[in-house]
Structure formats: C-alpha cells, structure tokens
C-alpha cells in the first residue's frame, strides 16, 4: 500500500496475491479444457492434415504470438526512439 496517497486506498480482489494465483490456476484449467475435446472429435483440415491434429490451433496461436512478440522486439531495437526524437 502506498502511504503517501491521501485518498482512501482502494483495496480490491485483484490486490490479493492469493487471488492472482487462483486466477492463474483457473486460466490453466481453461486452457486444458479447450484442448481436451480435440482428442475425442474428428477435425476438418483446410490445407493440410496437420490442422486436424489435436490442439493445432492452440499451438498455432501460441507460436504465432511468440513469433510476433520476438519480431517486434527485434524491430524495436531499430525503431524505438526517445519521445522528443522529432523535436530535436
């Protein structure tokens, strides 16, 4: 809690570290629940049989985002400038 803040501190559900832990566990459970049905159903594929593998879209989404984050991180080294870049 920041004691300097004169206003009454709003202490909410999210501020308890315990709840964040619960939220994380809930999130992992949801992720698992989303992939499990794939093992028990026939999935259609559009271009390649790989798409019918269980958890393909989960894997695809995860990898796509990791790649996007890494690429933008790398580009960031070249593209990020100080905020007054154009004023100098």
């Amino acid at each position: 809690m920041d004691s300097e803040n004169k206003k009454p501190e709003v202490w909410t559900w999210f501020d308890h570290p315990q709840n964040i832990k619960r939220l994380k566990i809930g999130f992992y459970i949801v992720l698992a629940l989303l992939v499990i049905p794939d093992f028990f159903m026939h999935k259609h594929s559009l271009f390649s049989s790989v798409e019918a593998w269980p958890g393909f879209y989960a894997f695809f989404g995860f990898v796509a985002c990791v790649v996007i984050i890494l690429v933008s991180k790398l580009l960031g080294f070249a593209l990020k400038e100080r905020e007054d870049y154009y004023d100098r």
């Binding site: 920041d2 803040n5 206003k7 709003v10 909410t12 999210f14 999130f27 949801v30 992720l31 989303l34 992939v35 049905p37 794939d38 159903m41 999935k43 259609h44 559009l46 271009f47 958890g55 879209y57 989960a58 894997f59 695809f60 989404g61 995860f62 796509a64 985002c65 990791v66 790649v67 996007i68 984050i69 890494l70 690429v71 933008s72 991180k73 580009l75 960031g76 070249a78 593209l79 990020k80 400038e81 100080r82 905020e83 870049y85 154009y86």
Partner: protein
Amino acid sequence: MIASLHPILLFFAGALLLWVLPLRGRQALILLVPAAAFATITQLPHGTFYGYELFGFDLTLLRVDKLSKAFGYIFTINAFACFLFALHLKNRYEHTAALAYIGAALGAVFAGDLISLYLFWEVMAITSTFLVLARKTQRAYGAAFRYVMVHIFGGLCLLAGILLQVNATGSVAFDGFSLEGLPTYLILIGFLVNAAAPPMNAWLSDAYPEATVTGGVIMTAYTTKTAVYTLIRGFAGCEILMFVGCTMAVYGIIWAILENDMRRILAYSIMNQVGFMICGIGIGTAMALNGAVSHAFAHIIYKALLWMSAGAVLYLTGKSKCTDLGGLYKTMPLTMIFGTIGALAISSFPFLSGYTTKPMIIYAGVNEGLFWVWLILEIASAGVFLHAGIKFPYFVFFAKDNGLRPGEPPKHMLVAMAFLSFVCIFIGVYPQPLYDILPFGAVDYHAYTFEHTLNQFQLLMFSALAFFMLLPLLKRTETISIDTDWFYRKGGKLFYFGCDKIFNGINDFAARVFGQTVPSQLTRFFSDPSRNVQKYLVQMAAEATGDDSQVKRRNKEIDHRTKAQAYPIGGGVFLAVIFLAIMSILYFI
C-alpha cells in the same frame, strides 16, 4: 427528379444550424441529425437521384444500392453514438467540423460518379483536419499539418487519375475498374492513401492520437472506411489488394506492440483491421466482399467503443501513455468493462461482433485455396488479441497501479459506450440482421459450429498465454516508434536544412561579393580613377619587366600630379576616353 431527402443535406444543414442554436438546442440537434439521416436512409429507394450537370457531364449525388446503403446505415448509427459521447462539448466549432466531415463521408459513399466522389473526398480531408486542430496543442498543429498534406497528396493522385480516366474513356462512371494503365493506378493510390496502406500509412497513427478526445472517436470510422467502400466499388477482386491487406494486417500488429500511447495502439489496430477488409476486397468473391462489408460494419462499432473508453480515460486523467496509466479498473469499472467488450470484439472473440464477420473473409480465402492469405490472416488474428485484445485493457486498466483515481466519465459517455457494447454483443450473438443488409448475395456462412468456435477459443486463449508468459518482453517504455512518416518528418527537416545551406549560402556569398567587396573596390577605384589607372599600369609594367625599383618613385609622382591637378583633362573625360577606346576595340573585333 427528387425522390427523397438526401441524407447529407441533414448533416450540412445541421452544421449551419449549430451556429444559431443555444446549448440545449445544439445538444438535441447533434443527436437528431444522425437519427433522422438513418431513418432517411432506410426509406431510400434503389436508383440514382439528384442529377446535376457540371463541366458538361451528367453527375449524380445520390446513388442508392445495397452497398451504399450498408455503409450509410453504419455511418449514421456510429455518428449517433459518437455525438452522444460528445454531448458535453460546448463549443460549436468541433461539432460543426464533425457534422460536415460525416456529411462528406456520406456524400462520398452515395456519390454516383467520380467527380462528385472527388469533391466529397476533399471536403472530408479538410473538415477532419479541424478535429485535430481543435486539440489546440503544438503537437496537434504539427500532426494536423502533416495529416492534411498527406491527404492533399492522395487527393491529387485521385484527381489526376480521374482526369486521365475521363480523358481516356469519356466517362465519369464510378464502377468496377480493371487495373491497367496509369489512370486506374492513380485512382487506386488515391484510395489507398485514405485506407492508410503502407507506405502512406503513418498519417493515421500520427494524427488520430493527437485529435481531441471526441474528435478521435469520430475520425476512426469515416476516412478509412470510406476508402474501403470505394475499393469495394472500384477494385473488387484486384489481386494486388490481397498483398496490401496482408501487409497492413501484420504491420499494424507489430507497430501496435511497440507503441506506448494507448490511442496510438488503437490507431495501429485500425490499420490492422482495415488490412483484413482490403484483403477480402482483393479476394473478391461474393463471400469475401460480404465479409469486408460486414467487417467494416462491426469494426466501426467496436473501434468507436475502444476509442471511447480510451477517450474517457484521457478526458479524466489527461494521460494517454501506458507508462502513466494502469490500475484504473478500481475507479472506472464500467469504462473498463465496456473497453474490454470492445477489445474482445476486435479480437473476434466468440459471441462478439468480430467473430461473426472477420472469419468470413478468412473462410472466403480458404474457399479460393489461398494458403498464404489464410496463414497470414490467422497469424494476424492471433496478433490482434495480443495488441488490442489484451495489451490495451491490461496496460490501461490493470497492470501497475499508478495511483490514478479518476472515477467514471459523465453519464452520456457511459450511455454511448453501453449502446455500442450492446451492438457488439447483438451482432455477435445474432448476426442475421447484419447479414441481411449485405450487398453481395445471401450469406452462406455459419460462425457457430462447435469446431470453429473451439478452434477460435484455442487460438485466442493460447495467444493470451503467450502474452502473459512473455510479459517482460512487452514492458512499456517511454519511447515512440519510427514509422514511414520519418521520411517526410526527418526528410522534410533535411530538405529544409539542405535548402537553408545551399540557398542561404549562395545568398551570403552574393551579398558579400556584390554588396561589399565589389562596391568597396569600385568606390576606391572611382574615388580617383586617373590616379588609380596610372598606378595600376605602373605596377603592371614593373611586374612585366621584373624591375620594381622605380615603382615607389613613380607612384609618388602620380600622387603629386593628382594632388596638384596637373592634368590637361579631368578624370571624367579620361574615363570616357578609356571606355570609348574599349568599345571601339570590341566593335571592330
């Protein structure tokens, strides 16, 4: 023949009426105008009306078909919500610009020929600039200047294209073009500048975040979506647009991830979403075009919603950088909920509007066997969730608590956001009314199969996993990112610097030589020409013979003679003789 009221008349009349009405009247007016325009558009019969003649061409101001009507609906619905959001504004200036801007956008959508289209196109560019200028900061003035310059460039491309096209074909008709030859390429470039396609994309992320709180909300819908409309009308099925669209979809994501300013993040996500639409236009099948129109419809709604929630935060805290924000869910829970609904809708989360529209475009690409389009658009779909779906709400409303305790925005803002949230959910759950107004045939697309919904949930939730696992890499920094505006911002400075050095250098040199050196030497010479000429000759003779022992003595004699004025003739006559001699020599040569 006038069959019915032209909806743009309501907007332009409203823009004028604003200046005579008191505050209450103005508030009623800005809500009445879009509502009345919406009602008018529902009643418009198909056909062309409001014909007029200009430059010997028969032009039409009102072409009504399903395509123009679909854009008319969404433009007026969104205008209503935006004006509701902007109800607190007391000044007439911003509302006038907004009404004229939206009126011009509608005018461009309903324009039946190229010349009318061009006229509204330019009015849009000018009126929207005032929404940026109204922010009244130095940065906004700069951004507005660059914004209008880029649009003038785009407008000139369009004008040149139209003139060449009219010259070549003799027709001002605005229908599907086949992309061949300079005229159609110029028209395409003109459209693409307004669609924020790279490399002419930076005006969007430059100007929109510098606009006023309400101006930004209004601008997000019209310029780019008018461009989408014109591309559907003019260049459907044009393959190059698939590449442009895919590039935009990915470009928008990467730059949005790098960005720190929340409204700039949202500006880049406009580019990303318009990329999906343009890709659909490039695919060009009925389903792809229906997908593009429906996605434009859904996009306008959730994008306005996102900009409203960001606008409410900016309005109350005066801050828009993610590094300054965070923890706002504590005192702005409603704004957070509405913003999150918009964020999930843009990510095409099932049961929200993006899910019933965007996959239609991807599915149309799959039907055509376009593997690369499918791959890139699926990657971009995951990326949308990353930058707009999670990043925006997470860094603004959660993340690190920066101690800001602003409270909720005024009621009318909350009502506007609630209205748009409702539309997002409505289209997501029950898309049939939207599918019914789509112009390119009946929609044969079912969003809610178990498999597709499951796939989408997997895609999105594992994107979320990637976000939270790589959160340290996504930490916000107080930086800006270089975009293509670098070329004209730094290039402009370089040009200025170069011109300064070259032309001012020439100027300085000329001033030194002709203003100081030459006149002073001439003055010295003409102060006593006969003496100076003699001395010069003596000097020359001495140098020629290599004997300068006599020079001093001769000079003394010359000085003495001059002082005593011991010449039979005056200096003037002496000079005249010399000049006459030179002239006669020149003449005889």
